[in-house]
């Protein structure tokens, strides 16, 4: 099993989620993160004091799935998250050794 971690632009979340559901992916977990990268942040000014805010709001999507589904899932994420502009984000793949569904105790692919 693998875990896909995708860092994407917040307003792309809905489409990515739809795309993944269509693939038959039944679960995912998202969280709000702030990203630092090539995409420039923005300037803020409070009473004349200027701050350069380097971090940009992003959404992190985590999906644990069978290794065999990784390529399709990555493709969907790329298609749905891409705007072509800098800051579209990244997809990382991390190995997962076990997965358990708390409610039933099922493990492995049944847990997903």
């Amino acid at each position: 099993m693998k875990k896909i971690e995708a860092i994407i632009k917040p307003f792309r979340v809905d489409d990515v989620k739809k795309g993944l559901s269509n693939l038959g992916i039944k679960g995912m977990t998202v969280s709000e993160v702030r990203g630092f990268g090539r995409q420039r942040g923005h300037k803020e000014v409070y009473r004349g004091a200027e701050y350069q805010v380097d971090f940009v709001a992003k959404i992190k999507i985590e999906i644990v799935l069978e290794a065999s589904m990784v390529p399709d899932a990555m493709k969907v994420i790329q298609d749905q998250a891409r705007t072509g502009e800098i800051g579209d984000g990244k997809i990382f793949v991390i190995p997962v050794e076990q997965a358990v569904r708390i409610r039933t105790g099922e493990s492995g692919k049944e847990a997903l």
Binding site: F11, D14, H42
Partner: protein, 406 residues
Amino acid sequence: MDTGDTTFILICAALVMLMTIGLALFYAGMVRSKNALGTIMQSFIIIALITVEWILWGYSMAFGPDKWGVIGGLEWFGLRGVGMAPHSVYATTIPHQVFMIYQCMFAVITPALITGAFAERMRFGPFLLFSLLWATFVYNPLAHWIWGDGGWLGRLGVLDFAGGVAVHLSSGVAALAAAILLGKREGFGTEELRPHNLPMTLLGAGLLWFGWFGFNAGSALAAGSLAGSAFVATHVAGTTGALAWIFMEWRVTGKATTLGGASGAIAGLATVTPAAGFVGPISAAIIGILAGVGCYLGIMAKNRFGYDDSLDVVGIHGVGGVLGLLVTGLFASVAINPGGADGLFYGNPAQLGIQCVAIGITMIYTFVVSYILLKVVDKLFGLRVELRDERSGLDITQHEETAYNF
């Protein structure tokens, strides 16, 4: 001069000023957090901008020496000649300047109401210019027609106690023009555009309600029976408006919502505004119910016709303005206000006709002029922020600030 009346109008002026602060919060709570400050700023800065406009030429255009019933002259430019001696017509027991500043607060909140229609997507500079032009070419004339000494709608016998024509209907119609001309926000109808802070919206609604007592009761311009009955009518209509709205929600979508309660109250308060000084408590209760049901259907219309009147200015102030002027023609009674007239239900169908004229004229004039002003400003500077800025939000792109850093 009367110290009681002077106290009354000074405090009422302060209350109406607070309404625009309440409006800023009422609106800001309904937008996404990336636009919270931009939305607050639109109302807040209008207090400043329009007050300056008002003391320079606005008051003179609206209440100054009448010209052919259509506009006030500029004789009072910069408040020249507007002193402390009471004005012989407008308010005979309080200083003239007190009447002027009280009216100023009305001129301020009206363009602020419109901002709900183009929330989350208007550029700040062009917004300022449009508001200034709109106040000058729409609000001032309308205010003169209905309230100015010699204004033709007033002379026609139109009943509008506290602002059905110049405040609610005009802002509602201008909102429609703006919503159509600016187009939809990205994601309207597809994405979730959920309010980011409804407690803020409820606080705003509370401050609006509180201030509305100054708005409606204060329009009696003296602390007597008329002010009392306008106060009661206002409060009652707000309450039945809230109940009617959540009743509709309960029937249509299954649950009463907090935003619905607040929206219904505002609908009731807006609708009773032109009638407040002409109707009794029971009439006011009925008016509030009509407002709650009517405005609820009004906001539903948006989803049907598909224009993005983001915070429902058309549905609430537009529909409420029309309803309010109509019901005034139905429920008005000289038993409540000898200075007024009877409505249809009290044997005077003519009044309803007069009210309809006021509605028609106000809608046509406001829509045409508002649309032209928007077009002109759009051509000159561009009203709408770029898509990229819309996505980042007004706060960062228009003001270089963020609302929250918890």
